[in-house]
Each structure stands twice: as C-alpha cells, then as structure tokens.
Amino acid sequence: MLAGALRVVIPVRGIPATTLLPDTTGIHYSATLAEPAGFSSAESVLLVLCVLLSAGLFFWRFAPILRNILRSRPDADFSLRPIGRRVWAFVSEVLCQSRVIRQRPLPGLAHAFVFWGFLAFALVSLNHLASGVRLGFLDPQGRLGSFYFLFAAAWAVLVAVSIAGLFIRRFFMRPVWLGEKLSYESGFIAFLIFLLMVTYLGAFFVDKGSTGVNLLWWMHTLSLLIFLPLIPHTKHLHLVLSPLTVFLKRDGFAKIPPLAGDEDFGLVAGKDITQLISLQTYSCVECGRCTEHCPAATTGKLLNPKEIVLGLRSYLNELGPASETPLLAEARDTAPADAHQQLLSMEAAFACTTCGSCEFQCPVGVQHVPIIVGLRRGATNTGAWEDTYGTKLFLALEKSGNALGLSAMERDKFIQKQQFPLFDGTQEYCLWLGCMGGYDPRGREIIADFARVMRHLGTTFGVLKKEKCTGDPARRLGNDLVFQTLAESGLKAFETAKVQKIVAICPHCVRTIANDWREYGIAPVIEHHSEFMARHRDHLPQQAGESIVYHDPCYLGRYQEIYDEPRAVIAQAGTLVEAPRSHERSFCCGAGGGLAFLGEEPGERVSHVRAKELAATGAKVVGTACPFCNTMFRDALSAISDTPPQLLDIAQLTARAIPASPDPMGGTQ
C-alpha cells in the first residue's frame, strides 16, 4: 500500500497529474499536493489574487503594530549579549515550549502539538500554494516528499485533535484564567486550524478526479488565507511576535532597567514605553498564567498582570507610542473608556508584591516586573503616587535610613548587647544586619542565631558601624531618588570598611546589593546565609527528624534560583516537607515590593493564603529563609490556627542544636 503510494508523483511539470494517479488502494495522496483536477489558469490567477489579498490585509493590519513597536523609545540598556542565553531561551521556551507545558501540562502539550504541527506544516503549506501556480517543489515520489507528506499527515492528526481539545477547553470547560469573555474570534481561528488539518487529511480519502478534491483544495487554501489577516489583531499575533520576544527579552529576571537621561522618570506616558515593552505587550497571548499565579489577583486585589499588559497594548493602539497622556487611569484627565486601560491603574500597580510569578510563568516572554515597577517609577518619581504609608516609608528612608523610621541608636544598642565586633578588615565576613536584623525584635533573633552558627563554625565576622537600608522597598516602589541615595551610601560604606565578603539573612538585601546596586557600582560578593550554611552543612549538628515545611522566598528562589541550599540546611535540622507550591512555583508571603510597609490590603491577605497552605502540610515547623516572610507568617499563622506550627528561620533551626556558649566570642570548634 505504501509502496504503491510512493510511486505517485504529481507536480511533474507539464504532465497532468491526474493521469498518473493510481486508483487501487483507496488512499490517495492529498489533493493539496497538486493542482486539482481541471485546475485552470483562471483559478491560478484567482489563487494569486487571494494570496495577495490575504497578505495585503495581513500587512495592512500588522503595519500599525510594527510601527508602534519601532516608534517606541529604544531600550537604552539593550544588548544582544550574552547571546548564548538568548539562544538557549529560544530553544527551550519557543522550540521546546518548556514554559507552555510546564505549568499546564495537558493543554500545554496540546498547544505544543499545534505549534510543532505548524512548524511541520510550514513546508507543506508553502508547497501547497506554490503548486497552485504550478511551482510545487515537494516531490511526493521522492524520498523526502513522500516521507514528508505522511509525516505532516501524522502532525495534522495531532494538531486536529489538540485544537479540538483546546476548543472544548476554551468554550466548554472555560477555565477562569482565560478571561470571562468568550472570544468568538479564537473559536473561529480554532475552527480554521481544524479545517486546515481536516482538509489536508481528507484529501487522502477523496478520489482525485472528483470535484471533492477541488472543494477540499480551495477550502484548505481559503482557511489558510483567511487565517493570515486575522493574526495581527487577535492574540494569535503571538505566532509572529513571541519567538522574537522570547529571544529579545531583557537579560535577567525581574530586572529593573536604568533610567535613560534626565527626562526619564519611568513609565509615565506613552512616550516612555520602550520597544521591548511594546513588543512584549503585542506578544501577549492572554493565556492568563500570570494572573493565575499572581498573589494579588488571586486574593481579590485590583491588580491583574494580564490586564496591565493588555492595558498597555490598548493604550498603544489608541494613543500611540509618542503620546503624553498618562498611562495610569487615575492620572488621566478623563477616565479611559477602554476596560483594559481602566485596569492599567495606580491602585493595581501598587498592589504588586514583585514576587515575579507572572514573569516566571509567561510563555511568550513578557517581563511584567519591570513593567509594573516602571509604572510605579512613573508615579513615584513624579510625585503622582500619594499614599500615607508610602510617604511615611520614603520619609523614614530619607531621614533615618531604615524602613522602620527608627533611630540608628537602636541598632547600636543591639550590636552592643550582642557583642558583635565591628568590621575592621581582619574578619572574613561582613555580617549585614538589614532593617529587620537590626531593628525588628524577631529579625534580631535570627541574626543573633546566625551569628551563633558562624561562631560555632569558627568563621570570623564583623558588622558595619553604620548601616542603612539597601533601598529595596524604595526600588520596588519606584522611588529612584531614595534608592540611588541609599545604594551610593551603601557602596561607600563597604568601600570605606574594605569589605570583601558579605553574608546576609535577607534575600531582599542580597538581591538588591548584588544586582540592583550594580547601576551605581560594584558591591563586594554577597551571599545569603542559606548558601553559607549549606556549604558548611557537614559541620552543623544533625537533628532528629522533626517535620519542617520549607517556604521558598520569592527573592531567594525565583529571583536568585537558590532552592537547594536552604533545603540542605533544613534536611540537617529535621525532615524536609515540601509545600504544595514550592520551588519556582512558590506562593508569595505578601511582603515584597515594599508592601510590607504599606497599609492594609483589600481582599484576603496573601500571607493568610500561604500560611494556610503551609499549615495544611501538617509539618511541625514552618521553615523560612527571609525575615520578611517570617514576619508575615508570624501574624498569619496564629490568625489561621489556634495551634499553629512553630515558625523558625533556617538560622534558628540550626542554632537551636548548638550548645550555648558562655563566652559569646568563643566557638566550639
């Protein structure tokens, strides 16, 4: 059967294909392979006209989008290097569809089949159109051709089944994250794709001489040609843009780009939207993964990361990339009419914990955190954001240099009480206290316990005489003035003290010093205490197997990809239990992005949602690795349960097994 089929050749130039068709097996090579029976020159001309019309419509609709992207402000810090990482992202996220599949395996795989099917079909479709004007180049009798058409047929089956499945999911199962509104366009496009596949497959079963072939041929062609102009103004634009978006996206997770020049205050108006942001907003496929995993969106806040992106897209379409009209709804003179733009609001932007879940999830390369922080910068750097707590925080940072607005003398007293030596260059590490470690009673317990661990290990350390906030909350809330002042003062403090290595208990401090400060200088090497303790785990006491559920802090996990080290420390202190959402999928505690210092949150508290989840594991202890998570869960755990699990930082978990030393400077080693 196959052998018979392989003999079939169709587009041999000059020879009417039908004459060569055998009619013995009942299965024919697709009519798409050749001009259908009686394909006239008029039909060829019609085909050419249709193709031109379709392509013309496509470009007519695509040109304004392209223009908006190209006319957006260039990204000042853009560089193609390191190219390796870009290629890898392209291979993994585009070609292998890793992000599509990872979080939604079944629909993700269905999508991947459609995508791979499209790739496989590219050649077939090209040949299909070419054959319409007798320029077909795939020889069904050749080895390649004969194999390829069957290969494509196999994909056609997968695509047809997948797209039907996705159609059923979208229109009958209706997952909430896809949005409440049914998009009939996407239904129609799904139908077109289905039709494309069915007509391709159908041709195998249709007698070559029949008019059915003609019908199928044209149906297949028209499906393709109608699909093309629908792409630019539907979410299927991602077919065209997202491979590029993934390749070009800013290097670094949740990276906040430097401001460009004296007139750049962040995302204030259309004129501030950069080309990358523009490209990303047009790439959004509206899958809602960002929203599904957003701690704000899922606990009743106004923020919906998808709507932020769609709001920007709608803004660009309506007002263009040169507009001076404010982006944020509250800052406009007249409220925007478009629903997406209404949700592009200050309230929403300032509800973000910058946990980065959205950006981590996004399969098409949208980088939400720099966008949301960019909107906040636009509001804060111009003074448009007026919030009692935010103002209090900024004034505290301006005046006292710590987020809590406490006197630096409080820190001095703590250092004296703990007998922490001042860093003088003779010690190996500079122990960074941070606002929580220096001022918060519980944060101080963590620092004190970590200091005991260091002493136990015989590691020498000292603390800075004066320490100011790293500027993390100011950075994430978009106050570049305060952030810059604090970053520069911090860099100077390290330089003056000749610090070589820093260790800190707070992932926010570590991230900000190691990464965000780079805009103003190079800080000494800094590591998180989980890294330090994991490296020395062999010298840490092994404790009996009490169950400890570990909560991945966003700024340690997603932001710095540190997952194994804290687990290694916990494994030494008890039996590690995984939370239902862990590692990259960890759910925020609600404190990040400066939100720990803002007022009461509307809706359900993020910390309560997570605390319930952690408590439900039945673990005896909740293990944290971030003083902010710790402080959030302290309230949350006791609010959700009368008998909550114990709450301990990994330093405390370790230190509790270290015998107390009467001499605070004496180690046991």
Partner: protein, 255 residues
C-alpha cells in the same frame, strides 16, 4: 499669593550627641543636617496653598553657612520656586532676636503676602522666631496653625489650643503664621523634583545691619541625668497598681 517660608537647618533627629570641647554645643564634625521638621510642615502648607489657589510663588529663606544650601535645594525639589540663603556663618552667636532681624531684612525685600514657618526648631526649640519676625515686620501673626484658608483680603486660620480645642482666627494680610506639625501630610522628595530644582534660583544675600549683643546666652550644655531605662514594677497586683497610680500622678501627670 507670594509666600515666604522661613526654614532652619538642624541636626538629624538621631544625630550622635557628643558635647563639644567648649561645652556650649555638640560636636558638629560628624553631624548630618536636615530641614527642621516643623518647617517642613510650613513648606508643605505653602505648597498646598499655592496649589489650591493655582497661582503664586513660594520662596524659601534660610539663614546659615553654606551647608544650608542642601536643605534649600531639597525645598526647591519639593516644589518651592526660589530660595534665598542669608549668609550667617555662626548662628550660635546670635539669639532669637538676632536671627529674626536678619530674616526680617531679607524677607522685607521680597514684600510677601504671607510668611510661614514651623512652630519651633528641633534643636533649640525656643519656638519664637516666627512671632519675633512678625513683630519686627509689624505684621499680625498667629501660632500653632492647623489650617489656612485665604478669604478675599485676608486669611481664616485654624489655631490649635490646648486639650483638643481649636479656634478660628481671621486676620488681614500680610501676616505671619507658625504651622503646627502633623496638620498636613508631608510629601516625599522625588527624582523629578530634584532634577527641576537644579534649574531654580538659589541666591545668597548678606545681612547689612551688624548683630546686636545677644540678650540671652547659652552657657553650657550637658546630658540630662535621667536616661530612659525600663523600670520593672514588682509586687502583688495591688502594690503594683498603687505604684502605677503614683507614676501616673507625678510623672505622667495623667491623673
């Protein structure tokens, strides 16, 4: 409305307190300075008045050595239109009357409609410069003001009295007000403000009249004997209650 805000630069609130060698002030070497907080509220009131009326000018005036220019720049960044520094290298040598005199001279030249200042300074806390300045300029004043409302030719202000009482006072312009802290919400400095401030005018003037001998002098400063320390009260509940009542009576004066 043309508004002058008289501000003072003072040591940061958590500045390290070390007595200077001459025993008359604290070591200034490693002090960092900031705007006197009550004056920040006066500036805020001025900015809000300008915003409310939609027109006018806010001029900040500060007497002191060159370092006070940073504080003036900050005020410009928050929204003041112009700044004037009155050269005075040694403010310590002047008393309130001396300081108010050089302020009066500089402010007179501007002939403003309204002068605002904080109700007292965080460092010396004498709480008089505003009132003395009004007296020297022969204009009416009102102190500890919570709200300011322009009324045609004059002002209607809300004055804070003791024990939660308030009073409205109507007064003609030009006038001087000392502003109560906390009546408004302060604004934070913004990047945009700082960048705009770079292009705003900051001029320096020198006082022409020689200072008169001070009427009062600060002879020495010293740390107060009682430092805040937690005193634990022990005993039976009744004994504790009696001791707390004693504290409430004589130290807190709540009874």
């Amino acid at each position: 409305m043309k508004i002058v805000v008289a501000i003072k630069q003072v040591p940061e609130r958590d500045a390290p307190i070390r007595i200077a060698a001459d025993g008359r002030w604290i070591e200034e070497g490693d002090l960092s300075y900031t705007i006197n907080e009550p004056d920040a509220y006066a500036l805020e009131e001025a900015l809000q008045l300008k915003e409310k009326t939609g027109s006018g000018e806010v001029i900040v005036v500060c007497a002191g050595p060159e370092r006070v220019e940073s504080t003036l720049r900050e005020a410009l960044a928050k929204g003041a239109d112009r700044a004037i520094r009155i050269e005075a290298d040694d403010l310590q040598s002047l008393d309130t009357l001396g300081v108010a005199s050089i302020l009066a001279e500089a402010i007179k030249a501007e002939s403003p409609d309204l002068i605002l200042t904080g109700l007292q300074s965080d460092d010396l806390g004498l709480g008089q410069t505003g009132v003395v300045l009004a007296e020297l300029l022969a204009i009416p004043h009102a102190t500890i003001i919570m709200q300011v409302e322009p009324t045609g030719a004059g002002l209607k202000v809300k004055r804070e009295l003791e024990d939660g009482w308030f009073q409205h006072v109507e007064m003609p312009l030009p006038a001087l007000l000392t502003i109560q802290s906390g009546g408004n919400k302060l604004r934070y400095a913004t990047l945009m403000g700082i960048k705009k401030a770079k292009t705003k005018e900051l001029k320096t003037v020198s006082p022409t009249t020689p200072p008169t001998a001070p009427a009062i002098t600060l002879e020495r400063v010293y740390l107060p004997e009682k430092q805040k320390k937690t005193e634990m009260l022990t005993g039976s509940p009744d004994e504790i209650a009696a001791r707390v009542v004693e504290k409430l009576k004589f130290e807190v004066r709540a009874l």
